[in-house]
Structure formats: C-alpha cells, structure tokens
C-alpha cells in the first residue's frame, strides 16, 4: 500500500465532510434526509461500479445483477427462511462476488474486448431480471415486502430516517476508502495497466484473470451490500428498480459525468445529481413532469461535449493550470 493511502485516511478533507454529513440528520427535514440517504446509496453504487468501470476501464453493465442479488436474495432469505439479514447480506455479497468472478473468467477465457465485455454483462443483466421475474422464492415480478422496521440493529433494522442515513454514510465511506485503497495498491496499478494496454500489461507479468477477477469481485460485493441496505431502507424490494439494467445505466451515467477512474468523480456526481433530480421532481413534477429527465439529458450532452473525461478530472486539470499560471 502506498503511503498516500494513509495520508488520505488521516486527511481532514476526508473526515471533516464526513463529520458534517453525520450531523445532517439533526438539521434536515425528513424529506431532505431521505434525499440525502438516496444520494449516499447512489454514491456507494457509483463507487462500487468505479472499481471495474473506472479503474479497470471495463464497462460492466451487470451491476444490477449484483445489486438485485443483495436486495432480493438477502430479503428472501430473511422472509422465507428466517436467516438474519446481516448474514443474508454476507451470503448475497459472496454470491455476487462469485458471479463477478465468473464474468471475469469468461472475459479472460475468450479474450473479450471492452465492447464485447459490455455486451456480455448487459446480457447477464437482462438474464438476471428475467430470472428474478420468474423465481417465486425471490418474489417474482412482485418483489418482496419486508417486515416493519422496529429499530433492532441486530436484525439489520436501523430505525427510521437518521439510522438509514448514517448506515448509508458508513457504506459510502467504506466504498470510498476501498476505491482509494485499490488505487494506492498493487492491484490498482495492475488494473490501470490492463485498462491502458492489456497486451503490454501481460507482457510485463500482470495476471489478467486474477487482477480483473479481484476487481470484479470487490465491485460485485460492494454493489450487493448497497443493494441489501437499499432494500431494508425501502422496506419494499422493487425488482423493477433494483434488478433492472436501467439501474446500471443510471450508475454508469453518474460515474461518467463525475469522471471515471477517480473516486471523487462518482462521489461528487452522485451527491449533486441525485438531490438535484429529486428536488427538481419535487418542485416541478406537478407542473413540468419529466423535467429532471430532460435536465439529466442536457447535462450529459454538455459534459460529453465540454469535458469528455468527466467533471472532476476537468476541474482538477483547471486547478493545475491555474496553479501553474
């Protein structure tokens, strides 16, 4: 692990915003707190995807499978078999990691290019949605309705708005630290080398399958944990949201607009786009329905045209230029 990781962990730039965020439940209304929780869950999802999509440069469109596994499998194990949701979360994360490794195996075995990999993972996402819709144990197309939350932490119940906000904050922090840890570790170098030139990376001894599979397993497990928390927070596990490829598209858009490869990009983009979308819909949903979709579209076009690398890399390069000047 490079020393900059430990610097990152000690940095007040990390802990001061976290401390401020942790105090928000005392200052925000229940509605704005719910938006904050949603934004933090998307931060986790975007950062989890960033491990594969950003750092490793593989456009994986299968993350809805992992999120859906975390949400539906953990919930189904709890409702149908009485398995504690903490344990269910671990089982679902392990299943997701295994699925992720399997996808990496396909990638390594058949030497899929970036485009083929994206298509294969999209196929997995579509299959995943069909499997969910056809499996009664997972609730089928109807989803699963979780029992009421009574605030029993040991049963994965966080007891209302503030509890879920803090849980989402902790998860987002874990995802951020994991991203930074990968970037500062040997794995991060391997993944970036493979992203930039797979043949050259292999020529210098980087193991293609092991590196990609490790990244994919981490990404899948984190996505799955976010899915479990999302499910418990919503109380109702909606397969049309949590197991749908549309969710992956949303995550990819957030990460891309923020800037791939850096943890800051997905983090900032999720913290801006989700609340803006929610508040726009809240304010204008009655008079201008669909405005938030329209603005999303406009924003993507603007970002793609002006800063194809994403907003954060663009801001960082402007800052460097400013400093030099």
């Amino acid at each position: 692990m490079r020393p900059d990781f430990f610097q990152f962990l000690r940095s007040p730039l990390l802990w001061i915003p976290v401390a401020i965020a942790a105090c928000l439940p005392w200052g925000l209304s229940a509605y704005h707190l719910a938006i904050g929780t949603l934004a933090l869950l998307y931060v986790s999802l975007a950062l989890a995807w960033n491990v594969v999509g950003g750092i490793a440069g593989q456009i994986s469109l299968a993350n809805s499978v992992f999120v859906g596994t975390g949400a539906l499998l953990a919930s189904a194990l709890y409702i149908r078999l009485g398995i504690d949701m903490w344990f269910g979360m671990v089982i679902a994360a392990a299943v997701s990691a295994i699925l992720g490794v399997f996808m990496s195996l396909l990638d390594a075995r058949f030497r899929l290019g970036h485009l083929s990999f994206a298509l294969v993972t999209l196929a997995f996402a579509e299959i995943g949605e069909l499997v969910v819709a056809g499996t009664d144990f997972l609730g089928g197309a109807s989803g699963l309705d979780l029992p009421k939350d009574h605030g029993r932490f040991w049963l994965f119940e966080f007891g209302g708005g503030p509890g879920y906000f803090w849980a989402a904050l902790v998860l987002a922090l874990i995802c951020l630290v994991v991203n930074q840890a990968i970037l500062s570790s040997r794995l991060g170098y391997y993944l970036r080398a493979l992203r930039d030139n797979e043949d050259a990376a292999q020529a210098i001894g980087i193991e293609l399958f092991r590196s990609k599979a490790t990244g994919m397993a981490i990404s899948a497990a984190l996505s799955s944990v976010a899915g479990t928390l999302f499910a418990r927070y919503s109380n109702f596990v909606d397969p049309t949201l949590l197991a749908s490829p549309n969710l992956t598209i949303e995550i990819v858009l957030i990460a891309t607009i923020g800037g791939l490869g850096t943890p800051l990009g997905p983090l900032i983009a999720a913290l801006v786009l989700i609340p803006v979308g929610e508040i726009l819909r809240g304010q204008f949903g009655g008079t201008l329905p669909g405005l938030h979709f329209f603005l999303y579209g406009v924003l993507i076009i603007v970002v793609v045209l002006t800063s194809p690398q994403g907003i954060v890399p663009r801001l960082l390069s402007l800052r460097r230029r400013f400093r030099r000047a």
Binding site: Y31, A141, G143, K148, N235, L241, R281, G285, P289
Partner: protein
C-alpha cells in the same frame, strides 16, 4: 381637521378589518390534498390520464361550491410526480406530508408503489386513497381497485364456470395466459388455486414477456397446449401483440377470457386496426373490465358523456380515467363526511364511506355499491365481462344482473 382625518383613518381601518373578516368567513381555508401520480417514466400514460380526469372532477366539485360541511372549502391539489418508481413515491409522500402539509393523500398508485409508501403512511399516520393497488399494506391506505384474488381471479373463474353451468358451454382445459409482471403473476397464482376447485383442468401456462415486441412464440406454445379456453391478466400492449399473433397464426377454437386492459381497453382498436380487431376482439373473446361504456348505469353514462364533451383531454379515455373520476368523488365524500381535516376523522370517514347502488356519484358498476371492507379494498369487487361489437362498442355479458347482452357463441 387632524382629528377628523384620524377618525376617518380609524373608520377606514375598521371597515377594512370588517371586510377582511367577512372575506375570511366567505373563503374558508382550502383543503390540501396531495396527489402522487406517475407523470413521467414508463407508467406516465396511466398517471396522466388519471390525473387529467381526477383534476377535472375536483375542479367541478370546487365550482359546485366545494366541501359543504367545511363551509364551502375548496379542494387544493398538490401534485407530485413519482416518475413511476416506487421508492420515489415514498419520498414524494414524505415531502407532501411534512413539507407541503397536505391534509390527505390520494394517488394513482399501483401495488409496488402502495407497498413502498406504506411505511411512510404508518409513520406519519396519513389517510390515503389509492386508485390502483390490489390491496393495502397500511391501516391508513384504502384502495379503489379489485384485490387480485377475490376481484380479478374470482370474477374470471366464476365466469367460466357460469358459461358451463348456465349457458351449456363445454370448457374443460384451460391455459393460463398472462403478462409476466407483478399483477399478472399474482392473478395467475390465484387462478391456479381457483380453477381446479371449479372443475377446470389447467393444461399449461403461457407468460407473455412484457418486453417482447412480438408474441408469436407465446401463441405457438398456446396452440400446442390445445386448450378450450385461456384466462389471465394481460396488459394493453401485450394484449395487442397477442391478438396480432392470434390473427397471423389463425388461432381458432380457443376462447380468450382475460382482463383488463389487454382485452377490454378501447386503445386495442387503435393498436390493432379495424380488420384485425374485427377478427380477434369480436370473436371468441370476453374481456374483464372495471368499467364499460356499454353500461346502462345513468351515473356512468352521464359522466362518460360529460368527459367526452367537456373534458378536452389529449389522451383517449378509458377505465383509468373513470378510476380518476371515482377517486375524486370518494375524496369529496370523505371530506364531506369528516367535516374536518383532522386525520383521525378523515380516516374514520374513509372507513365508512358508502356509495349505494344508484348513487349519482357511483361510476363503478357494482351490484352492491362501493364501500371498503376490513381489508381496506372495495367490499364488492365484482368485475364485468364484456364482449366487443364490430362498431367498437361493448356489451356487458356478466354478471347476469348487470348484463346488457347474452354471451356470443364461439365462432
């Protein structure tokens, strides 16, 4: 001079105060009703139709003097768009209750949205009327729609049994054809329990993929099962694709029974065209409907004529819009009966709301009227079975007490 001026000012101030007081008495505080609809996203067509008719009716109620028991208070609607995403519906419910401070909630909520907002309603104890969920998961939420089992499945299964028993048909083998989504699956599960008890033999299932652009494969499978009849819940787009495939494969000698949109929505004629419509909708097909313009009920006939003439909607009217109109009347009746915006009184009014048969505000065609049962769903969940006429009109064939025609024999 200055004393006169001061006196005049005091008089003017008193007069203004009196006027303001009178105005305040004349204009009672409006009742704020939060409305959650799918105004964008994949279910926007449903949400926009429901909202359009719901608002039209509320405007009519306001124009007719508002809520009498509240001194003529007007109903002020606060619309929220949930973008067809259940978790967003929960967030919007929270916003409407805590930030917009509405007195009551209503919405074109479907079952997943109902499940998603229920914890919020339980937490904030908000009386809510939902138009489309098949049941209620919160003691504060009442649904206008049929429950999946005793509404949809029972009506269709009983209709098949009635055809055999009272009309001498010989239906034995039944295939379950349904849209493979939440409601389709739930009704299918209920049918699988009910049909064998009525003596039917289920020969197989043919789920229709809601993402498919063609249902030929499903119809080929259906033909291979050789059923006497099919039954199930089918969405409009799947119903249109199913009928196109039926037409091109020339599937005959199978009776198609199902609901609701995929069999009885007027949009089907638009999607299929006249030629295919005549060959499929008008032959060997009965559709389950919550509402039918072919009904003789005066309240519904008048409403339908009013909406057609004065509504000026930019969407085709159907059962969804009628649900919006009925929802508006239930909101009005609840507010009238409660005579207050106190949540406990509104909840009590929801529990006891009653539209007896023949009520001028009862648009749903139900033999015993509209009121809520212990499960907060309509006590009378009798659906209608309709048959299409070549001129695109409908005839009600079941239940017998509401029928306007005899069921057409198989062709």
């Amino acid at each position: 001079m200055s004393i006169t001026l001061r006196a005049a000012r005091i008089c003017a101030a008193l007069l203004l105060a009196c006027l303001l007081a009178t105005a305040a008495r004349a204009e009672p505080k409006p009742v704020r009703v939060g409305v959650i609809m799918q105004m964008s996203g994949p279910l926007a067509a449903y949400g926009q139709e429901t909202w359009g008719v719901f608002k039209y009716m509320i405007d009519k109620i306001n124009a007719a003097g508002g809520i009498k028991s509240l001194g003529g208070a007007k109903i002020e609607l606060v619309l929220a768009d949930d973008a067809s995403v259940p978790s967003r519906a929960a967030n919007e419910a929270r916003r409407l209750i805590t930030d917009e401070r509405v007195d009551m909630l209503a919405g074109g909520l479907q079952t997943p949205e109902m499940l998603a907002i229920s914890p919020v309603l339980d937490e904030l104890k908000m009386p809510t009327l939902a138009m489309f969920p098949a049941g209620s998961a919160s003691p504060y939420l009442f649904s206008l729609n049929f429950p999946y089992d005793r509404g949809y499945a029972k009506t269709m299964a009983d209709f098949l049994a009635w055809l055999n028993k009272d009309k001498g048909w010989h239906i034995k083998n039944v295939a379950l054809v349904y849209s493979n989504y939440e409601a389709g699956q739930k009704v299918n599960t209920a049918l699988k329990e009910r049909l064998p008890k009525l003596g039917f033999n289920i020969v197989g299932e043919v789920p229709l993929d809601p993402k498919a652009n063609d249902q030929t494969a499903a119809m080929l499978r259906l033909r291979s099962l050789k059923p006497d009849a099919t039954v199930g819940l089918v969405r409009v787009q799947d119903g249109a694709l199913m009928d196109q495939a039926r037409y091109s494969l020339k599937i005959k000698n199978i009776l198609f029974v199902g609901g609701t949109g995929g069999f009885s929505d007027e949009v089907l004629w638009h999607d299929l065209g006249d030629k295919i419509g005549q060959e499929t909708l008008c032959k060997d097909l009965f559709g389950l409907a919550i509402f039918s313009p072919g009904s003789n009920a005066p309240a519904l006939r008048d409403l339908w004529a009013d909406l057609q003439k004065n509504g000026h909607f930019d969407f085709p009217l159907g059962a969804t819009g009628i649900s919006g109109a009925q929802g508006a009347r239930v909101v009005q009746r609840v507010l009238e009966n409660a005579g207050s915006t106190d949540r406990d009184k509104l909840l009590a009014a929801l529990k006891t709301v009653n539209f007896p048969p023949g009520d001028p505000d009862l648009y749903y065609i139900r033999p015993t009227g509209l009121s809520f049962g212990e499960d907060r769903a309509p006590k009378d969940s009798t659906g209608l079975l309709i048959q299409w006429q070549p001129d695109h009109t409908q005839q009600i064939v079941y239940p017998p007490q509401l029928a306007t025609a005899e069921p057409r024999p198989m062709q």
